[in-house]
């Protein structure tokens, strides 16, 4: 309990820090909107002259892109990969490890604070207006809303674990250029952030189902637009749960190795 209060204090501080750098939150939103705009027009052109494609209407697809950009806007407020790289490069990480808290948890709670600020002051107002302005599909029942929120949170935690794990590779590689790009590519394609898995070739779709990334955006987005229901929905969320546990275990394992590495190098 005291532990939780300690970590929540980090969220509070991060929230205040974000408030001090409001400019950053709003500029980030600006680029988020440009990308929303770009994908909106691309999908509009892809659908022009067509009815449903693979059983998906244009309205559903547009809602999918909008909700996807909204979640990406939220995710963009927390960047554990950049942070850990900076800390390893500058040596700050040693200070972090001397302190009486667990770094991965501390960093997660700081991101909660950043996200809360970014979400409340930038993402939420903008997307409420967008959903009201354009006649987009939103969840029709309370249970659909709850499942979407739950799935989005699971997705966030999966991304956090995977991203921090990739970031921790800095301990061994010093220069993470290539590894980082594998991560960014996987998250942009296999998470279904811009192209839903429905439109993938079968073999690629199967591959994507067996990767953790689809749990990040694809599952919550599909729940939101009502393409994922019943049995398939329960299975997909179960998969998210399993991937969260697996990626968290991997993160802890890599973190313990990294901590050892620092001791070896003499801090």
């Amino acid at each position: 309990m005291r532990q939780l209060r300690l970590y929540l204090e980090f969220s509070r501080k991060a929230f205040q820090r974000s408030a001090a750098y409001r400019f950053d939150a709003w500029t980030r939103l600006f680029s988020n909107v440009i990308f929303l705009f770009m994908w909106g027009f691309i999908w509009f052109a892809l659908y022009s002259g067509k009815g449903d494609v693979e059983g998906v209407s244009f309205e559903s697809m547009l809602s999918y892109i909008v909700v996807s950009q909204m979640l990406q806007g939220v995710h963009g407020a927390g960047t554990p990969l950049w942070e850990i790289q900076e800390r390893v490069r500058t040596g700050d990480i040693a200070m972090e490890m001397m302190r009486p808290y667990d770094y991965p948890t501390r960093s997660l709670f700081s991101d909660f604070g950043n996200i809360a600020f970014h979400f409340l002051t930038a993402v939420l107002p903008l997307y409420v207006v967008l959903f009201a302005l354009f006649d987009l599909q939103i969840p029709t029942s309370m249970s659909q809303w709850i499942l979407f929120l739950l799935s989005a949170v699971l997705g966030y935690l999966i991304r956090y674990s995977v991203e921090l794990t990739f970031g921790l590779l800095t301990f061994w590689l010093m220069e993470t250029g290539g590894v980082e790009d594998i991560f960014y590519f996987s998250i942009s394609l296999f998470s279904g952030s811009v192209i839903p898995l429905w439109f993938f070739p079968d073999w690629l779709e199967t591959l994507a189902y067996f990767l953790p990334f689809q749990g990040i955006f694809f599952v919550p987005n599909s729940i939101f637009v009502g393409q994922l229901t019943g049995q398939a929905l329960i299975e997909a969320m179960l998969m998210q749960g399993i991937w969260l546990v697996v990626s968290y275990v991997i993160l802890r394992w890599v973190w313990s190795r990294a901590a050892l590495k620092i001791v070896v190098q003499g801090g």
Binding site: D24, T27, R28, F30, S31, I34, F35, M38, F41, I42, F44, A45, L46, K50, V53, E54, L173, M174, E175, T176, G177, G178, V179, E180, D181, I182, Y184, F185, S188, L189, V194, I195, F199, F200, P201, L204
Partner: protein
């Protein structure tokens, strides 16, 4: 500047470039990973395009290989541009740290000096990807260009370098007034550049005009690609694509003038 000072400047430039490359080669593993990483992330975008067109066949009448050609043409000139100008975006860091002043006290032209500061070898990744992609697209589309089309292609690459370089110079000039520049790159230029990877005719007319007549991104890849692939545009003449080099030259010199204006303002601030 007189002729001899140009010669001296050029020799100095290459000298500094060699030093910059040696510095980047220090971490050999990182050096190769960096190049590989860039090449892969562009290949990633190409894969995304392929997946997108798998169910939909074409985008605004552009087939997959035509789209790849459009995209790779932009990456090619961007690669050249990165080598010379990419570090301009972080001018704000130099100003904030006070390290920019050293560019002012040396007997070299400050613009030249700042430009020579870094010769980004990571950009070989962009070149690697784009040359391979353009070659593949050329073969897949069964193109057989006459001599003048190769001229258009070359003009697009040089013009594209100047246009994108000009925008980077413009972004860095903002730092003289606001002490911020890097942020503008990520917030404005990066998304705008991503939009240009797709056919311009997707977007509303107003945007098409802005990127043709104000920030001439359209001359980097879209207009030359129309001409090179014999594609029509509802309102633009396809021959506009032949003017990339001229547009680049004019645009870059305007951006350079603005940068120098900013520099003069920076000096007069007495900092």
């Amino acid at each position: 500047m007189s002729f001899s000072s140009w010669v001296r400047g050029t020799r100095l430039y290459f000298h500094m470039v060699a030093a910059s490359i040696r510095a980047q080669m220090q971490y050999r593993y990182g050096f190769f990973m960096n190049i590989l990483g860039w090449a892969m992330s562009y290949a990633g975008t190409a894969v995304t395009m392929w997946v997108m067109l798998y169910s939909f066949q074409s985008l605004e009448g552009w087939s997959f290989w035509q789209l790849i050609f459009l995209f790779a043409l932009a990456v090619l000139s961007w690669g050249v541009c990165v080598i010379f100008f990419f570090h301009f975006r972080s001018l704000d860091q130099y100003i904030l740290n006070g390290t920019f002043d050293r560019f002012l006290v040396r007997p070299i032209h400050p613009f030249f000096h700042f430009m020579a500061m870094k010769f980004d070898v990571g950009a070989f990744g962009q070149l690697l990807f784009s040359i391979a992609a353009v070659t593949l697209a050329y073969i897949q589309l069964g193109l057989d260009w006459p001599f003048w089309k190769w001229g258009v292609f070359t003009s697009a690459v040089i013009g594209g370098t100047l246009i994108q370089g000009g925008i980077l110079v413009l972004i860095s000039a903002i730092a003289f007034w606001t002490t911020r520049s890097e942020r503008f790159y990520w917030v404005v230029m990066f998304p705008a550049k991503s939009m240009m990877n797709y056919p311009l005719s997707l977007y509303p007319r107003a945007i098409q005009w802005v990127v043709t007549f104000i920030l001439p991104f359209a001359f980097v890849n879209y207009l030359p690609a129309l001409l090179l692939l014999d594609k029509p545009h509802p309102s633009f003449s396809s021959y506009w694509g032949a003017f990339s080099f001229a547009v680049g030259l004019v645009f870059f010199s305007i951006c350079y003038q603005i940068w120098m204006m900013g520099l003069n303002r920076y000096k007069s601030a007495g900092s």
